[in-house]
């Protein structure tokens, strides 16, 4: 489909929809940049080259899993562990995609396969919130693909550019731990978890995960504490569950 055809199909001005997506993502980008710089700087300390780091953030494009991978990175990397942790950290995408799916039924799969490559916490949250708003306002189709792509591409380009910049600046920054930049990592995760907070009862599995992961970290060498903590939390969630 040519660009002019695409504009015609969109009807309401695809360019303005794209721009609306970029604009709604702008405040999020402001928060993403320091996080991206820190990841890039940490990666070079673990021995990754700038090209390797750019390849990771450009091909994988999932910050949480990249932070986890860099934390666990050794030379040579423990491939099974890193890929398994990447899957565990990103397993939330399965739920996110499922939540978005009802809004995507009118769109052909061949368009959704590339679009979903850019699914991240931010583009998902913005796209879904927008679709719900438009549905409430009676606009059909509720999901605006160009709005979503505007937000998603803004995130993608910022993420890859600033993680790369962080890797380039990394050696100049020296050891980030000295300055406290490594605290950005718990900070970001704790804020993400606050966004997922649904009360004390729903958070009990998180406490199980924290305790098991911490004990495993203290007692078992290597990085198995992530898997141990995550799996025990999920098992506890299954048993904590009560029919309401």
């Amino acid at each position: 489909m040519s660009i002019s055809q695409a504009v015609e199909v969109a009807g309401d001005g695809s360019r303005s929809e794209f721009r609306r997506g970029v604009a709604s993502c702008a405040p999020v980008l402001f928060g993403t940049i320091p996080y991206a710089l820190v990841l890039g700087a940490q990666a070079t300390q673990k021995g990754l080259s700038v090209v390797e780091l750019s390849a990771m953030t450009g091909l994988n494009f999932a910050g949480g899993s990249e932070f986890a991978a860099i934390q666990l990175w050794t030379s040579p990397p423990h491939i099974v562990l890193i890929v398994a942790i990447t899957f565990l950290v990103n397993s939330r995408h399965l739920l996110m995609g499922a939540a978005l799916a009802p809004f995507l039924r009118h769109l052909p799969r061949r368009k959704m396969f590339p679009a979903l490559f850019f699914l991240c916490d931010e583009s998902w949250a913005l796209g879904l919130a927008d679709a719900r708003q438009r549905a409430a306002a009676g606009i059909t189709p509720a999901f605006s693909p160009r709005y979503y792509m505007g937000a998603a591409l803004a995130m993608y380009l910022t993420w890859v550019a600033f993680t790369t910049l962080g890797a380039l600046l990394g050696p100049m920054l020296g050891h980030v731990e000295t300055y406290g930049f490594d605290m950005a990592f718990p900070a970001v995760f704790l804020v993400l978890m606050r966004g997922m907070w649904k009360g004390v009862a729903a958070a009990r599995p998180w406490l199980v995960s924290l305790v098991v992961a911490a004990l495993t970290y203290l007692m078992v060498p290597g990085a198995w504490y992530v898997a141990a903590g995550a799996v025990s939390g999920l098992v506890s969630a299954w048993f904590f569950w009560r029919e309401t």
Binding site: F30, G31, P34, Y35, S49, V51, E52, M56, L59, N60, F61, A62, G64, S65, A68, P76, I79, V83, V89, N90, R92, H93, L94, L95, G97, A98, A101, R105, M112, F113, L116, F117, E177, Y179, G180, M183, A184, F185, P186, A187, L190, V191, L192, M193, R194, M196, K198, A202, W206, L210, V212, A213, A214, L218, Y225, V226, G229, A230, G233, A237
Partner: protein, 99 residues
């Protein structure tokens, strides 16, 4: 510049990540999970995130523990950017002061 094992690891990471992105859309599109399975899935991201940062909670450095406590409180009230700034600043300053 680019190591074969590293590239292989990155490509595998990218592959499983992409599968998680399309998996929910493809598999769960025409299906409803049981309430119990949904509850487990909803807890999953938090379980993973807290497990990854668990070592910070058992640090032997008092400066790190204090900085984490400050960051924790900040995360309950502020958005991403201020929390990151408070966390990084408190860790940097406390490590300098307490060591």
């Amino acid at each position: 510049m680019i190591d074969a094992t590293t590239l292989f690891t990155i490509v595998l990471m990218a592959g499983v990540t992409y599968l998680t992105r399309i998996g929910g859309y493809l598999v769960l599109r025409n299906r409803t999970l049981s309430v119990r399975a949904t509850a487990v899935m909803e807890a999953a991201p938090g379980c993973v995130l807290i497990s990854v940062i668990a070592p910070a909670f058992v640090s032997r450095n008092p400066a790190d523990l204090l900085a984490l406590a400050i960051t924790f409180v900040a995360a309950t009230r502020f958005s991403m950017l201020p929390t990151v700034l408070i966390g990084v600043a408190s860790a940097g300053i406390l490590r300098h002061l307490i060591g």
